[in-house]
């Protein structure tokens, strides 16, 4: 079924000092507090992270719920903001493919796909035997998902003690951490151009279409970066 050695190695990959668990924990702590403040009970707050596990999508859900948006509108808004998960999956799962492994592992473990787990996997996959990368991935996913759930619980429980300033301070941790991580992964022309252009075009497209800016900015920047990389090769 699952090779425990590789699974454990993945599970333990979040315990290093510079692990994304810190940024992930801070963000989901804030989400736990936010959900309590808008009227979610304990079970509902935990279920949100348990079943969605995508921070921007959960934020959009909370905002849409507050303004009384319809279910269809919430679905579209969340799908748009989480559409980044599609190219992330396409650019990672081919690295995990193995004929020895059953398909259910891929379809279940894709729930663990998030910026934190994706960046760890992209950094470490070469060190893992091809046949067992999916087990390693399931370990990483279980660890990051658990951190998110536990932090949501903690955030919910301590929300009354978190001041507005502390909530704002927690909210900057996630973008700073992942931006630094992205800068650290700029190892060739294509990826470097992707990160720089994506950073510029995301806000630029926001001025044209706030809902579609991530998709428009990301796809445009990605295509330009791809050709820049091809020309350079």
């Amino acid at each position: 079924m699952i090779r425990s050695g590789f699974y454990l190695k993945g599970l333990l990959s979040v315990r290093s000092a510079d692990s994304p668990a810190i940024a992930l924990g801070c963000s989901f702590l804030a989400i736990g507090a936010l959900l309590k403040n808008i009227g979610f009970n304990f079970q509902q707050s935990v279920s949100s992270t348990l079943f969605t596990y995508a921070l921007p999508g959960q934020l959009v859900m909370a905002e849409s719920f507050l303004v009384g948006a319809s279910l269809v509108n919430i679905f579209i808004a969340v799908w748009l903001v989480n559409a980044r998960l599609f190219p992330m999956a396409v650019s990672m799962f081919p690295l995990l493919k193995s004929k020895k492994q059953p398909k259910w592992k891929y379809y279940i473990s894709c729930h663990f796909l998030a910026v934190s787990s994706w960046l760890i996997m992209k950094k470490d996959y070469r060190t893992i035997d091809e046949s067992y990368r999916i087990d390693f991935w399931m370990g990483i996913g279980t660890a990051t998902w658990s951190v998110a759930i536990l932090s949501t619980i903690l955030g919910y429980l301590i929300s009354d003690y978190l001041s507005k300033d502390m909530m704002i301070g927690l909210a900057i941790v996630n973008p700073v951490y992942f931006f630094c991580m992205l800068l650290g992964s700029m190892k060739n022309i294509a990826i470097g151009t992707s990160v720089i252009l994506g950073t510029i075009l995301g806000p630029v497209f926001y001025l044209i279409s706030p809902e579609w800016c991530i998709l428009y900015g990301g796809v445009t920047a990605g295509i330009i970066a791809f050709f820049a990389g091809e020309i350079n090769d």
Binding site: A30, C110, I168, C180, G217, A221
Partner: protein, 110 residues
Amino acid sequence: MTDFSSNIILVIAVTSIATYLSRSLGVLFSERIDENSKIFRLFDCIAYSTLAALISKVVVFPAGDLGEASNLIRLIVVFVCVGVFFIAKRNLVYPTVLSAILLTTLIKFV
């Protein structure tokens, strides 16, 4: 169960389905993609650029609590932390911890 509670459950269900859709379609699509192909490299670029677009959108046009800090303060915090990241030989701990402290301090005193 009250209407409010059942509404929240529906909202969570819809959010989860919308999110899983992108993830599972990505897995389905990736079944036919080879890691050495050009299409894989293209999606790799799009994945990185989409993440960068999302992060910069969150900083420049934030939703939620982060919007309470001014644009200038948010950008100062990000630039300082990126500088610290490179000065500290790409250590992620220093800029991460510094970001929360710096933003909270700047909001209080600026």
